[in-house]
Symmetry: D2
Subunit: 202 residues, 4 copies
């Protein structure tokens, strides 16, 4: 029986069922999380009608409240995003904006509702921008209450100005696979610690 | 008769007609551009069905091609964006993603189609994040072919962790008004120079 | 008896004994860490001859190996930096560069030597740039093996284009004091968990 | 006779005469600038005793005032920097900090002293971080008064997590050479326009 749950939000600009390098990278992270005992699920955010805004619920037709329930039920959140122009995708930024509302939401002990959850960031791009993308996403998730495990990221990008996709690689480079495995292992370890001994109320 | 045209893309998350601090800041920039002889227009991107993606036209129902025509017709592009979690809004990032397609589009002389246009970035937020927002937007627009005038930005943010909006201020602080005026003046000067003597073909 | 140790590296551009807002903010963080049972120390990096480079020891006269010993002996690392032009100070970036060498240094179990340590980032500036500064410093420390506690940052900046320093404030704003206290509390909790149950070897 | 002058500040962490990929990239940019009629010079900042601080002159022994005179005499400034941990080098950030003082320095017409100068950013790294490095350096230079030409950057980085240097390549990839040539051509064109018709006084 899995003692932890992990949810991957895939922030590709491309709706299903078209293939997505972000989804592939998310699957690689989730596979590692499963090997360490987590039950996992994932969704492509662009497949859902997430409305622009910074409230928990933007009203009629907004798909975010349903996604938020899945985040609240998870111990580990994986944000998988492509790089566009050196930045996280607009969909990833939209996820961050919707999570912004949870800065003001607290549990019975007065802690932000996202406290104790662990975040992993997974990034793919043709070229350049992974570190900036981690930095932006980690900082935002950390502001909202997520904890970042040691080396809690993984990524692949090609050489400068190249156009190959992660999903086009014959095989995952060993260093990338190792980063993916390490991030997952550390996330699971940290999530178990925080589940057993949550952050104290302020 | 105006010899230049300027277009402001307002990247608020809030649809019209609700008030928007980004729109107010855009109006302040456009007013200065008009005083220097530019004909101006603006639109809130969130009011239009801009589809996710990185192609010039994402197909049926996509509002981007119409917006892109307006950009192509303008000499000066103003991007006005709120700050969310320290970053440009998801709408601003979406604009950048849609402009990405124009890296591959060239004019008859083989120059990128956006060459010779001048960009101004205008940013508002409750607190913190303006410089990073400039940096991200300027870099992306520059990659696509826009030229950035000296001190080509303006912004307002409040003190750390505060919640007042630009539109709630009794008056625009003098330094902010001065930055707005300077960015506009330099943009107009540069746009005239580049209109008269375009970048050479490569 | 303290069961944890914390070290603050103050990344002001100004040598001692001149007053420094970064140092003041570091003291506020350290005071909170002490209240939670940590023994603390601090140093201003600019007072020491840290040589440019990315090796553990850059040779004759390099003060970094001594500072690195203090980091290795600490459970919690506080990086306190001013903002210059919206970025971490050059001294903070230099600290990051020197830590880069530790990506390749491992303990007896094959884990990076910085694994299990917890990082807090404390930022001050006249205006704007704190979130970007967190993002850059957290991402770099995380890459090297530090863990970031929930809301593991604190900061103060003034309104846009203002010139007041943190050390000039009559009192620390309540929200800032609360952020400082929260970051410290979470850092201590996390450091104790990771000390008791370290990340597994890969 | 050259009608323009260009200065490259090489922000490698490595003192001369050791080889430097940043210096090689700077030479490639300068060669293009010369082909377009500019007289060029360069220096490695780390070879000089540039003191920490944000004043025009930090006092006894400070090498910055001499470097600043060379910047003031140049029409085009090239900042060439390696990427460390996804960021501009600490030396590049130090250059930015020293230029910060020039926000307050004005010419006889009341314009910031750096107005009318054009900036090019050249970046090299083993892997990832070029776009963020451009963004940070461009934004800072633009704040001080430099103008950024269309596509005013060039860079090379390898695939994710690789360790090859720019100076180790058998040849410069064609796309990189093309970016270098384009940035230089646009910088020269813009510098000539701004020299002939400077920005107006405010």
């Amino acid at each position: 029986m899995a003692d932890l749950t992990a949810l991957a939000l895939i922030c590709s600009l491309t709706p299903s069922p078209a293939p997505s390098s972000s989804e592939l990278m998310a699957q690689h992270v989730l596979k590692e999380l499963e090997d360490h005992g987590a039950a996992t699920s994932s969704l492509r955010v662009v497949d859902h009608n997430v409305m622009p805004g910074v409230q928990v619920d933007m009203g009629d037709g907004d798909a975010w409240p349903g996604i938020r329930e899945q985040i609240l039920a998870a111990d580990i959140l994986v944000i998988a995003t492509p790089i566009w122009m050196g930045h996280p995708s607009s969909i990833a930024q939209q996820v961050i904006e919707r999570l912004d509302a949870d800065l003001a939401e607290t549990d019975d002990a007065g802690r932000p509702v996202m406290y104790g959850k662990v975040a992993v960031v997974a990034v793919v791009g043709n070229e350049d921008g992974a570190h900036n993308t981690f930095a932006d996403i980690q900082q935002a998730l950390n502001d909202v209450g997520f904890t970042t495990p040691a080396q809690g990221n993984t990524y692949w990008v090609g050489e400068a100005m190249q156009t190959v996709d992660y999903q086009d690689l014959d095989s995952v480079p060993e260093k990338v696979a190792s980063a993916t495995a390490g991030a997952a292992q550390n996330a699971v370890h940290l999530a178990r610690l925080l589940k057993k001994e949550p952050y104290p109320a302020g």
